[in-house]
Structures are given as C-alpha cells and as structure tokens.
Assembly symmetry: C2
Homo-oligomer: 328 residues x 2
C-alpha cells in the first residue's frame, strides 16, 4: 500500500504475473481489504480470482522512520507481509514502498542470514556491455571492510545465479587503480577482497562503471546511493536539454521529437521499470524492492524476480559462499 502508485500497480502487476506464469505462482495481496476488493471488482480478468487478500489496516509512508514504522505500524501492509513470510505463509515479498522501513522490519522480523553482519541493497546500472550490479546503494552509510567483503560475496552469488554470469568480476570502487589508493575503508577492503576466492579485479574508478569494467561494483552505501541517484537523473538532464533545444523553432521541435524516439530505444536500459526491482540481500527471507513509482509492468517483473530467487535458493548459496570464499 505504501508505493506512489499503490495499490493499482500491485494489483495489475500481480494479475499480469499470474496470466503469464500461473503454473506454480500464488500471489497474496496485503493491504486495506475494502480498497483492494473495490479495485478488483472493476477489473475484467478471471485471474483476479486467484489472488488471495490479507487485510492490513495501516500504511507505511515514504517519510516514516524505519524503526518507528516497525514499532508503531505493526498492522501496516509492509509489516503484515513480512510477518506472513516469517510464518512461512509466503516465500517472498515484493514492495514498492519505503525501502528503509522494509529493510529495518525485515531485519527485525526475519533476521540476518548466517555469516552476514549487514544486509544490503544492490542495484543495476546500464553499461556499454550490459548491466552491472552496484552494491551497496544505501543500506549502510558507515561501512567496515568486512561489510564490503560480504557485499562482494552476496553480489557475486546474485549476479552468477540470477543474471547468469559465470565467475562474475568484482571491482572495488575507488579514486584510483593502485592498491594503496583511497580511504582507510577501501584500502582495508582491498586486502580482504584480494585474499578471497572472489574474482576480484582490483580498484575501479567512477569512469569505469559505465564501461562495464566489473560485473559487480562494491562500495559503501553512501557512495553507491549518490552514484545510483546521479545515474538515474541523467535521463532527466538529457530530456531537459532536448526540450530547451526544441523550443527554438518548430523545426527544432520536430527534429527533437524524432531524435527522442531513437534515444529512448538506445537508453532503454536506464529505465528501471524493466529491471523488476532489486533484492534485499542478507536477510533471512526473499524480498524485492521496487521504485516508488513502479508501474504494473515493473511489479510483474518484481514478482518474477522474487519467484526466481526462491526457486534458485539464492540465500542458501550466499550462506555457503560466505564461509567458502573468505581466506583468513
């Protein structure tokens, strides 16, 4: 219920998911029952009858503080959904609401995976060679070296099994390529990564991200958050520059209109709707979080991602690799 377009995107995305992939998939909508029922009543699809509904009387807003929403909104759609997962009534949850609240409640209710000190959120960035995975993008803004190591393991498992890249390369985001470059955190993290069984390719710089130099970009959540949000805003800058250009004359307007179509095609990787959300990694459960403005298409893709993570036992693989990859 807490996303910008909730619950419409959720309802429509769930129905689309069932339509295309209903064999083993069961979807439960968690939220204010009357509202959900009312919305479902006007939908013309037989698949709506397959949706279960669990009532939740509260809603976590985008501005709610993570720990407070956990304490003060126990009957929110978010907390009820996570509780369902805790009780094994569902295998995974999907949400377009407050990510910080989601992470906090997931940690409190589900706990962390064995060997994980800090759960994390990774995300996709388009590069000249396809998508790269950047982790952490904001779960922890004051990281220790071992957290970065754990991110690298979790990212490697996710990219290998979910994105299908064998032996994915891990780059440490830094201000220079040499081993001793950077701040205290990156210098110590370099050591840990170098002495692991990960496919560590060393430091990479800001300019290497979009080149696709590394399949996985490791960084502190402060840096990752700034980079991700900066990247997401590039399209807006381009759009604004094009609009200004188009205002010069009717000819410019037509020309920009034609260009925009090609640019949209070329830059479609920058459209988060296609990714289907990103995983919370390191919690003892499966959780996919989406952009606040996720469309039904995005929600459908998020449901597929969640199902895939469960089916592929990603969490079990993370626990195994965390023990396996560290050389001490």
């Amino acid at each position: 219920m807490g996303g910008d377009l909730s619950p419409d995107s959720e309802i429509n995305g769930a129905i689309e998911a069932l339509q295309e992939k209903n064999e083993f998939l069961e979807v439960t909508l968690v939220g204010k029952k009357e509202i959900l029922q009312e919305k479902l009543n006007i939908i013309n699809s037989s698949f709506k009858n397959e949706l279960k509904i669990v009532n939740a009387s509260q809603v976590v807003d985008m501005n709610d503080s993570p720990t407070e929403s956990y304490k003060n909104k126990p009957d929110s759609s978010l907390n009820v959904a996570i509780e369902l997962e805790k009780q094994n009534s569902v295998d995974a949850i999907v949400s377009t609401g407050n990510t910080g609240a989601n992470l906090a409640s997931s940690m409190f209710k589900l706990g962390r995976l064995n060997g994980v000190s800090r759960p994390t959120i990774g995300s996709y960035l388009p590069t000249v060679k396809g998508n790269t995975f950047i982790i952490d993008v904001g779960a922890s803004v004051d990281c220790k070296p071992k957290h970065l190591f754990e991110y690298a393991v979790m990212g490697s498992v996710f990219v290998k099994h979910m994105l299908g890249k064998d032996n994915p390369s891990v780059g440490l985001l830094n201000v220079g390529e040499e081993k001793l470059k950077g701040n205290e955190l990156s210098i110590k993290a370099y050591d840990l990564l170098e002495n692991s069984k990960l496919n560590f390719i060393g430091n990479i710089e800001g300019r290497d991200i979009l080149k696709g130099t590394a399949d996985i970009v490791i960084c502190d959540g402060f840096v990752g958050n700034v980079v991700l949000k900066f990247a997401e805003s590039i399209i807006d800058l381009l759009r604004s520059k094009l609009r200004k250009h188009s205002e010069k004359s009717i000819f410019h307007k037509v020309w920009v209109g034609l260009m925009s179509r090609t640019l949209k095609k070329i830059l479609k990787d920058f459209d988060y709707q296609n990714h289907g959300g990103v995983p919370l990694l390191g919690i003892n459960g499966v959780s996919i979080v989406g952009h606040g403005k996720s469309s039904a298409l995005a929600v459908k893709n998020m449901i597929y991602r969640a199902e895939e993570m469960v089916r592929k036992n990603i969490n079990q693989k993370i626990v195994f690799d965390l023990k396996e990859y560290l050389i001490t």
Copy 2:
C-alpha cells in the same frame, strides 16, 4: 611537460592567450629548454617572441607518487614552476600534469592559506540550470566536518567572484534530505554549515546535482571523485550506444550521424575543454590544473582563469570569509 599532450598544448595555448589578451599578460614556459625552443622554431606567430622560457630538466609522470616526485624531481617543470611562484617571479601556474603531485608540491612549497586545514580541488558539472561547482573532487578522501565547511567557504568565494553568482547556494551531498540523514561526517558537517553565514540550503541527493539544485555541492573527496569521473564517462556511454545503433544499417548510420551533431551541441557543457581547468583552492598561491588531455584551447582558457584569479584576489577573499563565515 607532464601532460599527455605536453608541451604542444601548452605552447599553442600560451600563444593563443597572448594573441587574444596580451595587454597585461606575461607567460613563462617551464620545461626542457631545447624541446621547447625546437617546437617554437617551427611556429609561425610573432607572439612566440613574448614567451619566456625557464629550463627544467625533469618531468613528473602521471604515475609518480606525489611526495616522491616532490623529493626526487626538484628540477621537474612542475616543481620549478611552483618555485617560481614561491619567489614571486610568476603570479600563478597552470598545469595539465599530475594533479596529486601538483597539490603536494604546492602545499610543501607555497603552504596553506591562513585558516585552511586542507587545500582542495573543485570542479564543474553541467546542470539543467548551467554549471554547478562540486568540491572536493579528490584532494582529501578522509575528511572531517571542518574540512567540508572550509570547502563550502572556498567554493562560495570562487563561485561568487569567478562565476559571477551572487550569494551562491551550498548543498551538502547526502543520501537523503532530512537533517539527520547520512554518515557521521555529513551529520556533523550539516551542523557546521547550518550555523554559518553561508547560503546553506541543506542536504541534496545524487539526483539533485544535475538539476542544479545547489550552486555548490559539498562532499568528501572520495565521493566527489567518483561522481566527477562517473559524470565525465556519460558521454562515452552515449557515444558507444549510438555507435552500436548506427551499425544496424546504412540508414541507422546516417540517422545517428545527424543526431550526433545535435547532441554534441546540446551536451557541449560536458566538454571539459571549455571550462579552462579547475583551481587548487586553499594553497598560498594561484594554480589551475587541467585535464591530462587538455587541448591548446583548454590551456588558453586555463591561463585566462589563472589571470582572473590573481586579478580578483580570490585568495585574500577566502582568508577573509573563513574568519567571517564561521559562527561558533
């Protein structure tokens, strides 16, 4: 001598600068005398006779360590030039070589301005509202709150007097807008900035940079370095995506060719050649550093910038405002 296109860009840039603005401008070339003389011999411009040459037998490479190049290459073009500034033989220096070495040698030889704990490097980023100034972009990767405050003051003086923006706004780069968001550094820096006479507009996020929300973006050098290099690589991503698109057919090729011309015009702010380098701020002297691949045009603009910084007494204004702006 240490830039990727040195000394050609330097010689041609210097001559162009004298041609256009020779009234009060004197330019001294510092480097291997024979090489410089040889290059000058084949140049057909009377302005070449106005150039002075000071010999320097060594060259600092891009890979030289900052402190070692200071100790082991005292007769490098970089160190000789800074020595000339120390002795007041020149008022400012301009370099396209190793920035770290430049910063270190400048600190050792010229010292810091009164009230400055850490010299810094700021840079330009294009936004929908014109350029914004991001500071620090790599001089210090482990900052304390007071360093960020000093960056804000130095950035404000530079943007006000050099870029002509009255009462420029200062934003603190962070992972959220609320006062208590972020890491330890940003939370404490927020306090200092809020209690100063600066035009502090609070926290800004990665997505706000290109919107031009703040005239000056304050951050730790680690974050700023990553963001700047990431931003510089966007054009390359776009170019690569366009190239791939153009390879589909001859029609696509022609179409992309036409688009590229417009895009180049629209995105010209992303071309660092136009900025004329960025200042080292906080050292007791004037120093403009340029991209390693700076063209003659870029060097010319760097020389203008250096001259302007001297003429406008930027350093004196920084010392004054550092005392004036802090409310304790």
